[in-house]
Symmetry: C2
Subunit: 116 residues, 2 copies
């Protein structure tokens, strides 16, 4: 749903998904399907510490799924977006699209009102 009861699209944003690093992670996982931790850290310029916490929050909400395994003898950890996560990201993007439309309308109005 792109808006909440007050009608302002910014209020419909879900902070679990909207927060900057979590939004970055979700968009990357949406593109990649699943990704291992070194890839995510490299792509998003994160350390172990600031990758782990946002992923934990997303996993606790069922928005991503963390899988541990081995590649040969090397332990690896993957993150993947879940169907619930895809829906949450789609809702966020729908809200952002409403916000952008509203911002653009305001910009157009201001331009029209400016003295020539």
């Amino acid at each position: 749903m792109p808006t909440d009861d007050t009608g302002h699209p910014a209020l419909g944003l879900n902070d679990v998904v909207h927060q900057k690093t979590r939004l970055a992670l979700l968009t990357v996982l949406d593109e990649a399907g699943r990704a291992d931790f070194p890839y995510l850290k490299r792509l998003l310029g994160l350390t172990d510490g600031n990758l782990g916490r946002p992923l934990d929050i997303l996993a606790a909400q069922g928005i991503v799924e963390i899988t541990k395994g081995y590649e040969g003898r090397r332990p690896r950890t993957w993150a993947a977006i879940t169907p619930k996560g895809e829906q949450a990201l789609a809702d966020e993007m729908s809200n952002l699209a409403s916000l952008l439309t509203r911002f653009q309308a305001t910009s157009d109005r201001k331009r029209d009102e400016r003295p020539a």
Copy 2:
């Protein structure tokens, strides 16, 4: 600038402006020019506490300007977006537009790959 060096638009987001309540406040102030505290609280469903802190953060960055005055004998406080704030909001919106374009391209690709 819509992207950072790694090329992912989510990384170009500026958290000062991106954070949900601050983004809501800035879009409202961009529309209204300036607004008093009761109006902002009502529109965004905020209390004194959760309106004050985000406004303080935005004011400390020169993104909004807080003015205290009187209407008759009643003290009032207004918030207004500054030119620096308008630029920061325009940058955020440009980043969000890039993110949306990328998300839409991924969605289209996934749809095309789905078995008929």
